[in-house]
């Protein structure tokens, strides 16, 4: 990125410089650049037309940040990596956006890096999503994974680390053939003032099952934007859980389409925010085929001056009869300055459906605290027990015990660094 330009202009200047050297379809990149030039960073400037999908999140801080990709790394990769306590399983490690074979342990399933074999995929909408356009314009590396029919891909860890004040635009594409299985653990962390703007797409074929667990533990000065698209065929399952605890500003957006009869989608998440963190979890679940099921439990724990956002839309198309959609969104405010904004939407065009959503916002229940205190539990501990119980409901959705224990450790770390 040009050292003098920031915001949209800076990204466009970077594209001008890199154009021709970036892998993949150059026409698609040019089209994305045109779309990004027209749209700009959501909320990036004051006079921009506001996008409804970005109602509660403005990328003004990103627009104002100065990224310096040419500066030397400020932090040791090894330190960051060891802090993550990754599982003893295959891992693909990307540092400052580039694949690092030396740090990785490739899985038995098909893997290619985006730099070698650029696959832009078919599910994304760069023309509608400015940040996807930005990624499409600048993506230089990422992971392409392929699990063949009826193969169990086991656990694969996809790790993104940042060591410098840099803008990174990873592009991942994960394909599961009919009957295949995979547990994908996506972790992002780093040090510095950087932007991670990931686009990933997931193709889950007939009867396949993808378990996708994410931990976003970015530096407290970093910006994290992630847009994922999942397409689930007949009888397939996309089961995802996202834990957002890091970053100064994060936006996690998921578009999941239930395209075949009997498909199942779970989009669960928990956000634990403190200080002045801003965390936005936005999802769109599209029921296109009949007899599909979607489930969502989203929990926000908000402390200090943090702000949590949840936008969740369930769309049911004409032909998606017998749809079963359920969404629960809860926020716990722990401080007088914390804020939650929620927008759970239903958009229904089929009549024989069962769709519901619920939202609750409030503080810890005084009666519950009293109950625990009357049994000799000190107040601080009582509150801690209740917050953990609140979170447990969301974490319980992670079936793999090893993975859940690993997530719980991150919750403990978050808990340890603050006093309720």
């Amino acid at each position: 990125m040009s050292a003098t330009l920031t915001g949209s202009a800076g990204f466009l200047a970077k594209f001008e410089t890199l154009q021709g050297r970036l892998p993949g379809d150059s026409n698609m990149r040019a089209a994305a650049a045109a779309a990004f030039r027209a749209a700009g960073l959501p909320g990036g400037t004051q006079h921009q037309r506001r996008l409804e999908s970005w109602k509660y999140t403005s990328l003004r801080p990103v627009a104002e940040a100065r990224f310096a990709p040419d500066a030397p790394p400020r932090h040791e990769v090894e330190t960051i990596l060891s802090g993550l306590a990754l599982l003893d399983a295959p891992r693909l490690v990307f540092v400052d956006g580039a694949y690092r074979a030396d740090l990785s342990q490739p899985p038995a399933i098909g893997f290619a890096s985006f730099a070698e074999q650029a696959e832009m995929g078919t599910l994304t909408w760069p023309d509608r999503e400015p940040m996807v356009a930005l990624n499409t314009m600048l993506a230089s590396d990422g992971a392409s994974l392929h699990v063949s029919a009826d193969q169990d891909g086991g656990v694969v860890q996809l790790v993104s680390l940042a060591t410098r004040d840099i803008d990174i635009h990873p592009r991942h594409c994960i394909r599961l053939d009919p009957g295949a299985q995979l547990t994908l653990l996506e972790v992002s962390a780093g040090q510095g003032t950087y932007l991670l703007n990931t686009v990933a797409e997931f193709h889950v074929a007939e009867g396949a099952r993808l378990t996708h667990v994410r931990l976003q533990d970015e530096a407290s000065t970093a910006f994290h934007v992630s847009t994922a698209y999942a397409n689930v065929a007949k009888g397939g399952t996309y089961d995802s859980f996202t834990l957002n605890i890091g970053g100064r500003l994060s936006r996690t957006e998921v578009h999941a389409e239930l395209a075949g009869v009997g498909a199942v989608v779970h989009l669960n998440a928990a956000q634990l925010l403190d200080r002045t963190q801003h965390g936005d979890f936005t999802t769109v679940i599209r029921h296109v085929a009949p007899n599909c099921t979607s489930r969502q439990t989203v929990k926000n724990v908000l402390s200090d001056r943090s702000r949590g956002v949840f936008q969740g839309r369930i769309e049911v198309a004409r032909d998606a009869q017998k749809t079963d959609g359920y969404q629960m969104n809860q926020a716990l405010l722990l401080s007088p300055q914390a804020e939650i904004d929620a927008k759970p939407e239903l958009e229904i065009f089929a009549d024989d459906v069962k769709c519901s959503h619920g939202t609750t916002v409030g503080e810890l229940d005084a009666e519950q605290i009293f109950y625990l205190r009357s049994r000799g539990v000190p107040e601080h501990e009582a509150r801690s027990i209740l917050v953990r119980a609140f979170l447990a409901e969301a974490l319980d959705a992670v079936a793999n015990e090893t993975v859940r224990a690993w997530l719980e450790r991150s919750v403990e770390t978050w808990w340890a660094r603050r006093a309720v």
Partner: protein, 494 residues
């Protein structure tokens, strides 16, 4: 003054253009020329014998409106509206209607019959020219005894100190109250349609309930007689002083034909300490035919301010008419411990579109709000609940409960729920739940087994679905509303 000269010129030019009814008296005048500009607004102001400040207020609204864009965020779809192709002054209406009931659309008459509306009243509702059917007028008087009833009511209200009059009369007779409150809840430039209304409003009601007075009657029956042909740009202002109480009802269950396609009303409510305002609406404007042709565009801004401590504003609406409904009766809960309520039934059939809901803005401590919304979609219609619950930092221990249920009848319609929930106070509690379902086969079967026709069964089930809202309506209207729901859904099953 140039303004006056201009107005005179306009009046003159219009008169000279051979306008049929001339401008001698307000009664004979029928329509101002099409289009909207400052001269038309001056004309309206002159016709309404308004003071200078009112004209200035209108012009300010017009200037703001010119700079605004029509909102497009609602889930409604319509061809562009040509605002210059409308008449902005058309009162009192005397358009040539059908000469007798024989000329009225038989479909409409059948509907009246089902609603149990007396024959003579049907003629008036259908717009049969009363001049040609003198006896109709008399008959209606007999049914409602409008003159004497109205007089008795006026006397009772006057004794209680209640002011209830057309808004234009209030502008002349009670300028201090109007100046203090008009536009204080819905500012002139609040939104595109409110600004338009502020510039050109011609009809509407003004209600003032003095301190400690409980309005001796529901301001409904009176209204039904008085405002037979409600205007296109209505403006209603209700002020309830400390400790007072009023229940106001607008609309009518009978379907009403109206030539004006665009309706943009503004309703402002102000409740001071301990005051209570209950505002009930039954809206059944012409929804267009079964092909989706014609019908009213109902773009309404309704907002109540609970200014005083412990005040309460309650909105109840049954929306079955209009081709397009765009309305969000809201409460600004400013006074500590004030209460806002919104009970809504919205029914859409054929090609109707409804985008309706509420905003509850919690500002004061201990404020409470309840939202119950029941949306029923049938045919090819789309029905959207759109609402906002906002807890501001000062809203300690505020409370909201929201329930939005949608019922779909048929597989060509849509039901949508778009709630916005924003909380900035940890002691505030918000609960929201929404469901979407269809009429259960077993419920239908149960009713059919007991000899009910399919349509009656649907009517019964739908009324059960809406019970929580209907019970909030004043009794007499609840009964009519129940019939109305069944009639509105006709042809949606089987």
């Amino acid at each position: 003054m140039p303004a006056v000269t201009e107005t005179l010129d306009t009046v003159q030019s219009v008169t000279q253009s051979g306008y049929k009814w001339g401008f001698e008296t307000a009664i004979e005048m029928d329509l101002a020329p099409k289009g909207l500009n400052e001269d038309i607004i001056r004309l309206i102001s002159v016709r309404k014998q308004e003071p200078e400040w009112m004209l200035e207020w209108r012009l300010k609204a017009y200037a703001a409106w010119l700079k605004m864009e029509e909102p497009h965020w609602a889930r409604v779809d319509h061809p562009p509206i040509d605002y210059q192709d409308l008449h902005y002054y058309a009162a009192p209406k005397k358009k040539p209607g059908p000469k007798s009931l024989d000329e009225v659309d038989p479909e409409l008459l059948r509907t009246y019959e089902k609603l149990g509306i007396p024959l003579k009243e049907r003629a008036l509702l259908a717009g049969v020219d009363p001049d040609t059917v003198q006896q109709t007028q008399v008959a209606v008087d007999a049914v409602f005894d409008s003159v004497s009833v109205a007089t008795t009511f006026r006397e009772t209200l006057r004794k209680a100190g209640v002011i209830f009059c057309p808004i234009s009369e209030a502008v002349r007779e009670h300028p201090e109250l109007v100046q203090q409150y008009l536009g204080s809840v819905v500012p002139v430039a609040d939104n595109f349609f409110a600004a338009l209304n502020s510039a050109v409003f011609t009809d509407g009601s003004f209600v003032f309930i003095p301190k400690g007075v409980r309005c001796p009657m529901e301001l409904s029956t009176y209204f039904r007689i008085n405002a037979r042909s409600t205007g296109q740009f209505e403006r209603t202002l209700i002020i309830a002083e400390a400790g007072s109480h009023v229940s106001y009802l607008e609309g009518c269950t009978a379907p009403q034909r109206d030539e004006n396609q665009l309706h943009a009303a503004v309703v402002e409510l102000v409740a001071l300490d301990d005051a209570q305002i209950k505002y009930s609406t039954v809206q059944n404007w012409y929804p267009g035919d079964s092909e989706g042709k014609g019908g009213i565009y109902n773009f309404v801004t309704k907002r109540g301010a609970c200014r005083g401590a412990r005040s309460k504003i309650s909105w109840t609406q049954v929306e079955t008419g209009s081709a397009i409904t765009w309305k969000y009766p809201s409460c600004i809960l400013q006074g500590d411990d004030s209460v806002g309520e919104f009970y809504s039934v919205a029914v859409t059939n054929n090609y109707q579109q409804a985008d309706t809901g509420t905003k509850m803005i919690h500002i004061g401590k201990g404020t409470r709000s309840t939202i119950i919304s029941k949306g029923i979609s049938a045919g090819h219609s789309n029905n959207t609940y759109r609402g906002l619950v906002r807890m501001l930092p000062g809203a300690a221990h505020a409370r909201n409960f929201t329930q939005c249920d949608s019922l779909l009848i048929g597989d060509r319609c849509g039901a949508h729920t778009v709630p916005y929930i924003e909380s900035r106070n940890l002691t505030a509690k918000v609960e929201h739940e929404a469901t979407t379902s269809k009429i259960a086969e077993d419920q239908l079967f149960y009713c059919r087994q007991r000899g009910l026709s399919e349509e009656d069964a649907v009517g019964l089930i739908v009324n059960g679905f809406c019970k929580d809202v209907l019970k909030e309506l004043p009794m007499e209207f609840a009964v009519e509303a129940q019939k109305l729901l069944a009639v509105s859904l006709e042809g949606s099953v089987g």
